[in-house]
């Protein structure tokens, strides 16, 4: 048998007391897509960072096409033909879409940029990804997270790589864009490129991947062909037990209206949104990237300017400022956990309690012991994997960071939860736990506005689902009146069908 395109053997990595990787082996063949799966904090991203030269391994060796490969930096990895899309967005916000896509691989002669050539290549990949409307001149900090993720993907595609790693590329993409991406991946496969694909969406994985490798606590616990394995077997490998219910249902009944929006319009999106949210209700919001779902939540919460319209919480219309909204009982999980959601250099405990420090306060002074107890409870409940609650958030795995963000609104005990892609990057087992917590909250009389690009979870968890398109709410139906197809069709068409 010929050498595989990529072989990693005996890779180990420790971060202080954390064994992120223990003696992991992995193989990828040319023209094959390998699924790398595992719980949050299993070591997937770390393994791929070792491959891309961003993290030096403690031990282990790698070979590309039989040649020893030991990248000293991301630069040498690139030279060896390894491209990577990192889980956390890695964009230069002050640069344009084009400059970001071409970063590190500018075409130029004698150091002078050849803009015409570059422009053409950028247009080509954006076409491939199905977003020809994305202007190469736009500054990246003007884009929504979803669009930014597209830019990130485009960056890997313009490179002439032999191996491409996708670390949760679709966590903020709508189904629509996911399919486009899969089309691109299929084409890449045909040209003989090896691909590693990390995702927590097992259905996606089945659709696009050929083989799988499962990591648990830094060890490779199984690998093989995807055709010969069932979803529940994979889950069992990942979690070490079986997860009986992916979407646990907790009965809850809607009560009176707590949040009512009337004719709410922001500076660009949303446009003219009228919605009512009841106690004990989970209202889903679906839509394509750029539909304005994020802006809707931000307008409600007072983070974005509102042009016209009102937001009423109960009977009152509080001043639109986050501090007032929190006082009125609202809580928000941001879709951008790196830029906005979390204070990266602060501890888990701090991040979890910033929005509600009152219980631990006597005349301005903090009662740290009481807080420590509360925080460890939440960490246990959400299975946050960390060394201690004083660990700073930046060292957590992506999924665990997301859990801290969710823990904050839960700890805040908000009456109305505004969740923007809350399960982004969270593993199957914990997702189930989060759905259950959402259900319990609803049962306890809280209201939840749930924005997600993952239609399956919306339809399974929500009581009603609203579909947004181009800033407007097109239609609201109880979730059993929607199918994924009809919802998608409405989102694309922009009008109810």
């Amino acid at each position: 048998m010929p050498d595989p395109l990529l072989r990693m053997t005996g890779v180990s990595k420790r971060f202080g007391a954390t064994h992120a990787l223990r003696d992991v082996a992995l193989e990828v063949n040319a023209g094959e897509v390998l699924a790398l799966i595992g719980e949050n904090g299993a070591g997937k991203s770390t393994l791929m960072k070792v491959l891309s030269g961003a993290v030096p391994p403690d031990s282990g060796s790698m070979q590309i096409s039989g040649q020893p490969y030991a990248p000293r930096s991301p630069h040498s990895a690139r030279l060896a033909g390894v491209a990577m899309i990192y889980q956390e967005l890695n964009l230069a916000p002050d640069l344009s879409v084009e400059d970001n896509i071409m970063l590190g691989q500018e075409t130029g002669r004698w150091g002078i940029l050849r803009r015409d050539l570059q422009r053409q290549r950028v247009r080509d990949v954006l076409d491939q990804l199905g977003h020809p409307e994305l202007q190469p001149d736009t500054l990246v900090n003007r884009l929504s997270v979803g669009a930014q993720q597209l830019v990130e993907i485009a960056r890997a595609l313009v490179m002439e790589a032999r191996i491409i790693v996708f670390d949760e590329p679709t966590s903020s993409l709508a189904r629509h864009d996911v399919e486009r991406l899969f089309g691109v991946i299929a084409r890449l496969k045909e040209t003989g490129i090896g691909i590693v694909y990390i995702s927590h969406f097992l259905d996606e994985v089945r659709e696009i991947c050929d083989h799988y490798t499962v990591l648990r606590d830094g060890c490779a616990v199984g690998s093989g062909s995807l055709e010969k394995v069932s979803e529940s077997e994979i889950v069992a490998l990942m979690v070490g037990r079986t997860v009986d219910e992916l979407f646990p249902s907790v009965p809850h009944t809607p009560g009176d209206v707590v949040l009512s929006l009337s004719r709410l319009s922001g500076s660009a999106v949303p446009t003219d949104v009228t919605l009512d949210l009841r106690r004990g209700e989970i209202l889903g919001v679906a839509g394509l990237v750029g539909a304005g779902r994020t802006e809707l939540l931000r307008c409600i919460f007072g983070l974005d300017p509102v042009k016209t319209g009102t937001v009423k919480v109960g009977q009152f219309a509080p001043r639109r400022r986050p501090s007032r909204m929190i006082a009125a009982g609202l809580g928000l999980v941001s879709e951008d956990r790196k830029g906005e959601g979390l204070a990266q250099s602060r501890s888990i405990a701090d991040n979890m309690t910033y929005s509600r420090l009152q219980p631990y306060r006597t005349v301005g002074f903090l009662h740290l012991r009481r807080r420590r107890q509360a925080v460890s409870q939440w960490m246990r409940k959400l299975k946050i994997k960390a060394q201690s609650q004083e660990q700073s958030v930046e060292n957590l795995s992506g999924g665990n960071q997301q859990k801290v963000a969710i823990a904050r609104v839960l700890h805040q005990d908000a009456d109305v939860l505004l969740l923007d892609e809350p399960t982004r990057g969270i593993d199957v087992g914990t997702k189930a736990e989060i759905y259950r917590l959402m259900g319990e909250s609803a049962a306890a009389g809280k209201a939840i506005l749930f924005v997600s690009s993952y239609l399956t979870e919306l339809l399974a968890v929500c009581d009603r689902v609203a579909v947004m398109s181009r800033g407007r709410v097109c239609e609201v139906r109880p979730s059993d009146k929607w199918t994924e197809e009809t919802a998608m069709a409405v989102a694309v068409a922009g009008e109810s069908i």
Binding site: F15, G16, A17, T18, K49, G53, A54, V55, P56, R72, S73, P74, H75, L303, P322, S323, M325, I326, A327, L332, S334, G339, E340, G341, L342, A343, Q344, S345, R346, D350, N351, Y354, S355, L357, R361, G364, F365, L366, L368, Q387, S388, E390, Q391, S392, E394, N395, R408
Partner: protein, 374 residues
């Protein structure tokens, strides 16, 4: 190069299982650099022909005193830098406070009133900075660059473009003159504090001599003790109050702070005002040392104040900094200045040594932090 690539991107986690051991090392850490610099000069001085004075208690006091002014102002700056800001106006604001104090005394105001006026001026300068930064949403660097020259101008107007000299004997109270004085009668505790004082000859035991040395070194003017009290208070505020947490949150990620319902504008105003309070106190320190108010005596001081914070481990990108670190940062600079004079080094050489030590101290601190982390 290869070592260059990994560390900044991926912050390593902490090794020590208990965060307590870590905290301890973090507190001791900054002292290490100070100790190295101190003993470097001490030993070099002792081996010199006419040396041996550097390690004396008197010199320890003489170093503590110029440290004090910068240290007090730097405490306020620590707050601001942790919160992700910067204050270039600290130097001239400090001189403004000293000028106001001098002017009040000269105009015959009571010392209490004069001191209240100085501290009030300090708070006011901070308040102005805070309000401008919050209201105009202009970066602190610019706002304080502007107020830097504004405060200078105001101080010059108050001083009628010269130096304000209240009468030393009649208008400046005794305690204020002794506030940062090295003279025996102003030291606290008094001579009684030193054990075996007087009875110890050259043949005394090592232990006795050390005890005397320590006790003598601890006899300091009131102003220095006040620095220590203020430092403890500020450290407690940073660690154990809600406000303290908010300061760190703001510096770490302002958007997150806003998202969590922290009133960013108010907290910024509070932070700058509190820092202005420290600047006001530092103005009193400067005045008590100079017994005159000179509007221009704060020019360039802001860089030394900021340097103290940063040498002490504060990060200009916000979210990191400690009060102990800041104090040692200020002390390191004073030790270098004193050591160079005592070794008879010329000014250019002193400049170069100061520069080298700043870079080396911070580099070592950083390596230590990385070691700790790895």
């Amino acid at each position: 190069m290869s070592s260059e690539t990994n560390t900044t991107t991926t912050p390593e986690p902490q090794l020590l299982a208990t965060s307590r051991g870590n905290a301890l090392l973090n507190v001791i850490g900054p002292f290490l650099a100070l100790a190295v610099v101190y003993f470097f000069f001490g030993i070099t001085d002792a081996t010199q022909e006419d040396g041996g004075t550097f390690l004396t208690p008197r010199n320890n006091r003489a170093v503590a005193i110029p440290t004090a002014t910068v240290a007090v102002a730097a405490m306020g700056m620590t707050l601001i830098i942790i919160a992700g800001g910067i204050d270039l106006s600290a130097g001239t604001a400090l001189a403004l406070c000293a000028t106001v104090l001098a002017w009040c005394l000269k105009e015959g105001a009571s010392p209490t009133l004069a001191i209240l006026a100085a501290v009030g001026t300090g708070c006011l300068t901070g308040l102005i900075n805070g309000v401008l930064i919050s209201a105009l949403r202009v970066v602190p660097f610019i706002v304080t660059l502007g107020t830097m020259t504004i405060f200078l101008g105001v101080a010059k107007i108050i001083a009628k473009e010269t130096t304000v000299r209240p009468d030393r004997t009649t208008q400046i109270p005794e305690w204020l003159r002794g506030f940062l004085s090295l003279r025996e009668q102003y030291l606290f505790p008094g001579k009684w504090f030193v054990p075996w004082s007087g009875e110890v000859g050259a043949d005394a035991s090592w232990f006795r001599r050390t005890a005397i040395w320590v006790a003598e070194s601890l006899r300091l003017p009131v102003g220095v003790w006040l620095v220590i009290v203020l430092a403890i208070l500020l450290a407690l505020v940073l660690r154990y109050t809600v406000f303290g947490r908010y300061v760190f949150a703001l510096g770490s990620n302002e958007s997150t702070a806003r998202l969590c319902g922290i009133n960013v504008a108010w907290n910024k105003i509070a932070i700058y005002t509190l820092s202005g309070f420290f600047v006001g106190i530092a103005g009193i320190y400067q005045f008590s040392r100079l017994s005159v108010g000179n509007p221009t005596s704060g020019i360039g001081l802001e860089l030394r104040i900021i340097a103290a914070v940063v040498i002490g481990g504060g990060s200009l990108s916000g979210g990191r900094g400690t009060v102990v670190g800041t104090l040692t940062g200020a002390a390191i600079m004073a030790v270098i200045a004193s050591g160079c004079t005592q070794l008879g080094l010329s000014n250019p050489v002193q400049d170069i040594i100061l520069g080298v030590i700043i870079v080396v101290a911070v580099t070592i601190d950083q390596i230590r932090q990385r070691r700790l982390a790895a």
